[in-house]
Symmetry: C2
């Protein structure tokens, strides 16, 4: 990739911080400016070598080659609106939000002529940790990044964002924004909701101490994503709530079927569901490992 | 512990196999006989050094110091009934079933005078893999084993089973059988049901290939337990279905609350649930790591 002169990262946590670190490590950027709400967080990011400089407004965007938005997705419209007047004529704007239709709508409403240099994206990677100290340069290696370009998106802007992600080690793929949101609703957003709900059920239980005492590895892994950032996940659920509600309704129907099977002591039905799920999951893991030459064995 | 002369393991898969391997490694047993339904599985266990000898009936129990039942829990009553006439006067019987009230009921009904040498147990450990080749000697290191003794249980029998588990590296604790089942329903059985249901929802979806293609690490960990043994989990759900149904009903109510919050775009409610869950989970992890001196950092 052509080395970026100046990158502005809005939100220097797990995703924004890892993007900056990965690009730096690949020699893909000269100077990184971090923008954020909290002085402490920006100072922490500077100490960790994620950013060179902190800023609290968007003046810094004027000479930027790229602006990466990596704050909770609910702030996207407000940030784009504040950012728009400061964008230089060649500045490309991209984001890392976990939902895309809402981001695209906001961009259309507030970016004006800069819309053609806006490239909506979503790295399908992360951990349950958040903040600058959770960031690491290898986060995107071998992971997918979904770009949801608009009809208006200028090919050079798209190429620049694609090249940056590839420099981070990611595999870039394109999807329409609506389809992105439908897919992620079921394989990411719903599981987060389910995990939060289960941990909360234990936490609200009168026997919670005993319950946690006997929770083991299965519970730990099932609920790992319930340690994720609450504000970020609130925003994702709200931004994609139509699709999340549709999948949640299907899931509740599905649980209703299992409930009736349990009530009827219908072992054959339970075993059929469990077997189908196990086979599908094991097949997925095999294909996944094959697709990445076993690189993603974690 | 006093070395066992002869151990009979019924079901030489992940749990039974690991128990035999761990006891052998600790020098806690002289000779292990495996009993099972499948000649191939028993032969595999012999090749893997799990058992010394295979058997297809319970004649072998007569001179055994201990019989460990580690087959799917739905077979417990039938196995105990077949085993009872062959038990020697000093043979201690224990089990590793994930449910305990049903096992205790079955034991009371079929064991007769041998009931005082029956020690119901449950190692709270496992992986999503099954079969003899999934077994390993370290499985129980630092893990909890719950014993649910009966009023009739003879103290020497209890001591023998406790010593065997401690030789495997486990921490032994006692709970009444009903309480065991209630606790495990929420922190183990319900999560398995939920994970199976989610994977099945993806597998039944018309877009399943695209969905699996974009499923990432969060989905992988959330659904790890959906790769578990279907027959085993059918039996567990059936054996503990009253408690599982009760927790499932509460969970569905809880999901209903989240659904209404989503419909109303009530971000504050969502964030409150997510925050409570995250804090509870992180506190649990901290206490868990402290409790085991960081030994269980996996």
């Amino acid at each position: 990739m052509k080395r970026l002169g100046k990158l502005v990262v809005v939100g220097v946590g797990l995703i924004g911080g890892s993007f900056a670190l990965a690009l730096r490590e690949a020699g893909g950027v000269e100077r990184v400016v971090g923008v954020g709400r909290s002085k402490e967080t920006l100072e922490q990011a500077r100490r960790l070598g994620i950013i060179d400089e902190a800023a609290f407004d968007f003046e810094c965007a004027r000479e930027a080659d790229m602006v990466m938005l990596a704050m909770p997705v609910g702030q996207t419209r407000a940030v784009l609106a504040r950012l728009a007047p400061h964008l230089g004529p060649a500045t490309v704007v991209t984001d890392a939000g976990s939902t895309k239709a809402d981001v695209v709508t906001a961009a259309r409403e507030v970016l004006g002529s800069a819309l053609e240099r806006f490239v909506p994206g979503h790295p399908v990677a992360g951990t349950e940790h958040s903040g600058p100290d959770a960031a690491f340069a290898e986060l995107f290696e071998g992971r997918r990044v979904i770009i949801t370009p608009l009809a208006e998106t200028a090919p050079p802007a798209l190429a620049k964002v694609r090249a940056a992600w590839e420099a981070c080690g990611a595999q870039v793929q394109e999807l329409p924004p609506q389809m992105h949101d439908q897919v992620l609703a079921l394989v990411s957003h719903l599981p987060h909701l389910l995990a939060f709900a289960l941990v909360d059920q234990v936490a609200r239980h009168e026997q919670r101490e005993r319950l946690f005492a006997y929770a083991a590895g299965g519970f730990r892994d099932f609920t790992r994503i319930a340690s994720s950032h609450p504000e970020m996940w609130r925003d994702i659920c709200l931004a994609n709530r139509a699709a999340v509600l549709a999948e949640l309704a299907r899931y509740q129907e599905h649980l209703g079927e299992l409930q009736r099977a349990l009530e009827a002591a219908d072992g054959a039905c339970l075993e059929a569901v469990f077997t189908r799920a196990r086979e599908a999951r094991n097949r997925w893991l095999e294909e996944r490992d094959r697709g990445t030459d076993g690189k993603r064995s974690e």
